[in-house]
């Protein structure tokens, strides 16, 4: 109270004409916001605990509930926003680093929204995806520089290992531990049905999910949790995680409270011990070290698995990517600064890294300038929100996109951004059994399948409109893009024309 | 084409008809109905008095029941005699019926003790049939003083049915408690208190000894004035017709678990039979409607050539008086019989669970009877209580007491 007091951010508005006191809100709120007062026979709310996850709103059978932003504001100040001031209060009270989850919510430019897509008119025909074949398959991996022939003159058709995707979308890394077993099962099953890949993240691979191996990317991060020979050989590819868009330059910290049962077994660390991923890989202090790890992993898997190197989009990303492309990596994954996280220091999340759109544009161009674009595939993530974002990313030069936040939304996430509390009311970012069971993978996987299928339809529509009937012909096809509301410099980096040009 | 003859036209007969027809759709079925009524539910006669039902709704089966089941029903006709050699049944109208399979479902009749001076009572009734109910209804008015002899099920249901229609009701019974056949003292007291609160007067451990017009002289010496006398002392199985031809009988006709009597081709079911109580493993007359149906149905199937058994019959009752419900099932073994009793009790409710040999043998509940069938099922299945969470199920009947696996079987498939 007093100096410590911060007025709640949200208000629970309950329409008493509609509330039938069924108690569903009370039973479903892990934050214990709602309570039936037996004496008054009314439902009461403790709004200080509300994180606006909308679980109660979504389950209230009479639509009696809504959560609104509190209008109890501090005195207006264009420099000192409410949230800035409250962060100062919190830190003055706790003395600690502020933590947040999911992607950077601040109003920084979203370049996807400043890029518009072309369509065919008159001089060439748009193509109707319902009538004509419309191909969205891609192969990720290193392509040979030179065709070779055998003694009979036949082309030698042995390719380096590839990931073959029917649609250029994969689910990006989310570790078992940061998200629940059921969330992982949903992702794995959806990936299998869609023929795409999901990514274990750095928490190892639960024994139940080895069967989804052909649709799994196994990750090796700085903590090396759950990494062993079978694990490396279990997936379709191995991803070395050097960085994450939400928190470039820092490691991870999964509190011991979440290292329970199967999470501990899967990570191969004792129950209750904190899972700390160091900021760097302590065997990689430079690019030549990365090359060694890449080849160690290739050796361990008999050169059967493509190696992905994932980095956060940072200032010097083009040069970094060029280095990675020459390290023996087959695929480079770049994670933009809006990418999600289960927990990150707020200052890092909100201030470090660059937008994926710019990173992609400059990396693709740099690799082409160096003539090595075909030696490596490029996967981008960090807030790919919809099918048109995918199309724009491909047209800027990506081979495929990683999606995670959108996948979580499909699983029920309402972006309340409090994953770090472990009390996810939607059963996603939690290990509490009673919460985990709220995500039925039968529903979850189907929704993921629906989402990607819907995006695929939209991608086909957008391609058809452009007169393109294969995604290959879209890759790097920046002529299909125009900018709006951009400076000359931005247009130059994107290497696109302004709309109207 | 088989010829089936059913003597009787109540629940066991209906069960028998449905049993036959589930196997044999063409055999000829003849029903000999002593009462001049479409099959109706006997226990509803008290509800009729109470106006909770009517003659139409009392019908046990839809109006097209006999037609659909292709039955020839002889109303108001009684079977007088069976010729087992010729396989024929002689009727009181002089006709005879030949049968291949015979069902004796003669039920029971009110037992009227030989009271002195009973013939001096003008308005005296039994309470067994719809005709009894109709006659009582015609006789009573709001000032009537009714004396019911017998505080068993029949007497008390009659009291409930009449309470709103008459001035006063007194119930006497030689036993010192109400519902003595299903309740122990403790339970009986709770129910008695409830009935007394509603306005019924009890004279227990006391009974009429002699009647003189509208006065009953009690054993205690007391005189009780009444306008209407209802005799609900008990019932006797109607077994004469069976006994006559040498069918094995005790208090009632003895049947096995296929409902066969000791004579070939002759079956019996319902209140006129005596058979094994699964909960105590002893032969009993369990004159309750569900069992009558189940017996009749089993018999019917067997008469038509199947081999069905009904081998887990238990005594059970579900009764309510003025909103207070009571249920009982199985057998009650107290400690001297090697049993154990768990009791949960309050002023207006009680629950007693009787356990013997590691299984639930019986229970009595007054008050919240919801889900009591789960207990009944424990008795019927002789479920080992060690396999379930008895502590949980003691508090209230719930499938939660079963293992996850068993619960999965119960709820996860077709049962």
């Amino acid at each position: 109270m007093g100096i410590e007091y911060i007025y709640p951010e949200f208000e629970v508005v309950r329409n008493s004409d509609r509330c039938i006191k069924c108690g569903v809100c009370q039973r479903q709120c892990a934050n214990e916001v709602h309570k039936l007062d037996e004496d008054l026979n009314v439902m009461l709310s403790d709004e200080a605990k509300c994180v606006n996850c909308q679980r109660c709103v979504a389950l209230c059978p009479t639509r009696a509930l809504k959560i609104v932003k509190s209008d109890c504001r501090l005195r207006e100040n264009a420099n000192w926003s409410d949230s800035t001031i409250k962060e100062v209060y919190k830190q003055a009270s706790s003395g600690g680093v502020l933590l947040s989850s999911m992607g950077n919510p601040n109003p920084l430019p979203v370049y996807w929204d400043k890029i518009l897509i072309n369509a065919s008119q008159v001089t060439n025909p748009p193509i109707d995806p319902l009538r004509e074949p419309m191909e969205t398959a891609v192969f990720l991996g290193k392509k040979p520089e030179k065709i070779e022939r055998d003694e009979n003159g036949n082309i030698k058709c042995d390719l380096a290992p590839q990931i073959n995707l029917p649609v250029p979308i994969m689910f990006s890394a989310m570790s078992y531990g940061s998200i629940s077993y059921n969330a992982h099962e949903s992702l794995a099953r959806a990936a299998r049905e869609l023929g795409i890949c999901y990514n274990t993240g750095e928490g190892g691979l639960h024994k139940d999910f080895y069967e989804y191996g052909p649709n799994t990317i196994v990750q090796v991060a700085s903590g090396r949790f759950g990494v062993h020979e079978n694990y490396l050989n279990a997936g379709a590819a191995i991803e070395i995680k050097m960085g994450q868009g939400a928190k470039p330059g820092i490691g991870g910290h999964l509190p011991g409270a979440k290292i329970v049962g199967d999470v501990s077994k899967t990570r191969m660390i004792p129950e209750g011990s904190d899972a700390i991923s160091p900021a760097p890989h302590h065997d990689i202090y430079s690019i030549e070290d990365l090359r060694q790890l890449v080849f160690s992993l290739k050796e361990a898997t008999n050169y059967k698995k493509p190696i992905i190197v994932k980095v956060a989009a940072v200032h010097n990303i083009a040069a970094i990517a060029s280095g990675i492309a020459r390290s023996g990596a087959d695929i480079i994954a770049i994670d933009g600064f809006r990418g999600g996280t289960g927990a990150a220091p707020t200052r890092i999340r909100d201030n470090v890294g660059i937008p994926i759109e710019l990173a992609l544009a400059s990396v693709d161009q740099r690799l082409r300038d160096e003539g090595i674009r075909n030696n490596v595939s490029l996967v981008v993530g960090g807030s790919i929100r919809c099918a048109s974002d995918v199309v724009k990313a491909i047209a800027l030069g990506a081979d495929a996109c990683y999606i995670a936040t959108s996948a979580l939304l499909a699983l029920g996430c309402h972006l309340c951004r409090t994953c770090q509390t472990g009390k996810c009311n939607w059963g996603i970012a939690t290990q509490r059994p009673e919460l985990v069971k709220r995500l039925n993978p039968d529903i979850g996987y189907q929704r993921l399948v629906n989402l990607v299928t819907a995006w695929q339809h939209e991608i086909k529509e957008l391609m058809g409109a452009m007169g393109i009937n294969s995604i290959e012909a879209l890759k790097g096809n920046r002529l299909m893009l125009r900018g709006v509301n951009m400076t000359e410099k931005e247009l130059e980096i994107f290497n696109i024309s302004h709309a109207g040009e | 084409m088989s010829k089936y003859v059913i003597i009787g036209n109540s629940t066991a007969a209906a069960g028998c008809i449905e049993g036959i027809r589930s196997v044999d759709n063409s055999g000829e079925i003849t029903v000999v109905s002593g009462e001049n009524h479409f099959v109706y539910s006997r226990p509803l006669i008290s509800y009729y008095l109470e106006e909770k039902t009517d003659l139409q709704r009392m019908k046990y089966r839809p109006d097209d029941f006999y037609e659909k089941n292709k039955c020839n029903v002889l109303y108001g006709v009684k079977a007088e005699k069976i010729d087992k050699e010729k396989s024929e049944v002689y009727l009181d109208n002089g006709e005879k019926l030949s049968y291949e399979k015979l069902m004796i479902a003669t039920g029971s009749s009110p037992f009227v003790p030989p009271f002195k001076g009973l013939d001096t009572v003008e308005n005296k009734f039994s309470f067994m049939t719809i005709d009894d109910a109709l006659a009582i209804e015609k006789t009573v008015d709001e000032n009537s003083k009714v004396l019911i002899v017998g505080a068993g099920l029949i007497g008390l249901k009659c009291a409930e049915g009449l309470l709103e229609k008459v001035g006063k009701i007194s119930v006497c019974d030689l036993a010192d408690r109400v519902l003595s056949s299903i309740f122990d003292d403790e339970c009986a007291k709770i129910m008695q208190n409830h009935l007394e609160e509603k306005g019924i007067e009890f004279l227990l451990g006391d009974s009429a000894e002699e009647f003189n017009g509208n006065t009953a002289k009690m054993m205690s010496g007391k005189d009780v004035e009444f306008d209407v006398l209802i005799l609900a002392v008990g019932v006797r199985s109607n077994i004469a017709i069976a006994k006559e031809i040498g069918i094995d009988t005790n208090r009632a006709i003895l049947v096995d678990n296929a409902m066969k009597t000791s004579l070939e081709n002759i079956y019996s079911a319902g209140d006129c039979t005596e058979y094994v109580d699964f909960s105590s493993n002893s032969k009993k007359v369990m004159a309750i409607l569900p069992n009558a149906y189940l017996q009749g149905n089993t018999a019917g199937k067997n008469m038509a050539g199947e081999s069905a058994v009904f081998d887990n019959a238990i005594p059970m009752n579900s009764i309510g008086f003025f909103g207070l419900h009571a249920m009982s099932a199985g057998s009650y073994f107290d400690e001297k019989d090697g049993g154990k009793c768990y009791i949960e009790k309050g002023e207006r409710h009680i629950k007693k669970l009787f356990v013997k040999d590691g299984v639930l043998s019986g229970f009595i509940i007054i008050g919240d009877v919801s889900k009591a069938g789960i207990y009944t099922n424990l008795i019927r299945n002789k479920t080992e209580l060690s396999e379930i969470d008895f502590e949980t199920i003691k508090k209230s009947p719930t499938l939660f007491a079963f293992s996850k696996e068993n619960r999965g079987k119960m709820l996860g498939g077709v049962v």
Binding site: T123, F139, G371, S470, E472, A473 | -
Partner: protein, 363 residues
Amino acid sequence: MKLEGEVRIPSGCAISAVISKEGNLMTGESIIKSMIPMHDRSNGLGGGFAGYGIYPEYKDYYAFHIFYNDNISRNKCESFLKDSFEIVKAENIPIKKIPEITDVPLIWRYFVAPLASTLSRLQLDEKTYVARTVTKINNEINGAYVFSSGKNMGVFKAVGFPEDVGRFYRLDEYKGYSWTAHGRYPTNTPGWWGGAHPFALLDYSIVHNGEISSYDANRRFIEMFGYKCNLQTDTEVITYIIDYLVRRQGLTLEETANVIAAPFWSTIEKKKGFDKGKYTYLRTVFSSLLVTGPFSIVLGYEGGLMALNDRLKLRSMVVGEKDDKVYIASEEAAIRAMEPGATNIYAPAGGEAVIVNVKEGKF
């Protein structure tokens, strides 16, 4: 208004071609005639021809056809050429002044051979060297534009209707075993001579009708390998793709067609054994060279022609035959104009390459 090369200009077109499998020579008269019935497919802003086997006396020399804006650029270019090549002949390309063709630049022709000393110094094969030189001139010498650079072949193009361009260049005076022709319908250009088609590099020449939607994907990929798409035209990028695949990667024309108009995955899935592997391989490795959107092209090269449609056959193209000759055109009328008695007229399927070669030793 931006000029050709400064902006990408979509255009519709007419194409036509003829080849004698026996290597019999034909004057350019017939191919000019073929463009007349397709007059409406052009808008007078570009027309051109390529003839093969037309310089038998200089067949061992690269024939450079060059537009100059003026003599300054010519002098600059010629002095550059002299440093790198032996020039056996330099001359104006003969033309006939006609009112339909105006704003004529300087049009020169050189028969050249790379200096052996230069080649050995640079450790380059002849063709690579020539291709580089052409790219260099076109990129670096202002006002000079090499529009034909093959041996024993030549491209003739101008701003105007194709039939006028043919007369302008006096093509009836040349004899070749194969000819291609192009009429252009650009939608947004003042017209520039260099921008007319065919587009050629070494002995490859391309006439193309269509507007490909994969342009920038193709361009940005091919530019990794030293090509510069200055004209921003489909023809240019397709020429470079073919040069890259055939000359530099050593693919056959069929294989090249399987990259440019790759079979659908569903089609590849139905193939068996080696073929399935090969198609998958080609499509995977050269995914960025898949050309989508409408096109019909005729590729001319030493000793043959290849016609190819996009996978969905979004542009018309028919093939006909008569005796030793094979005819290809956007419309059957064009074939009939060349040979009224042509038979076996058919429309090749989308993605189906039609390759016609002159008999070995006949060219």
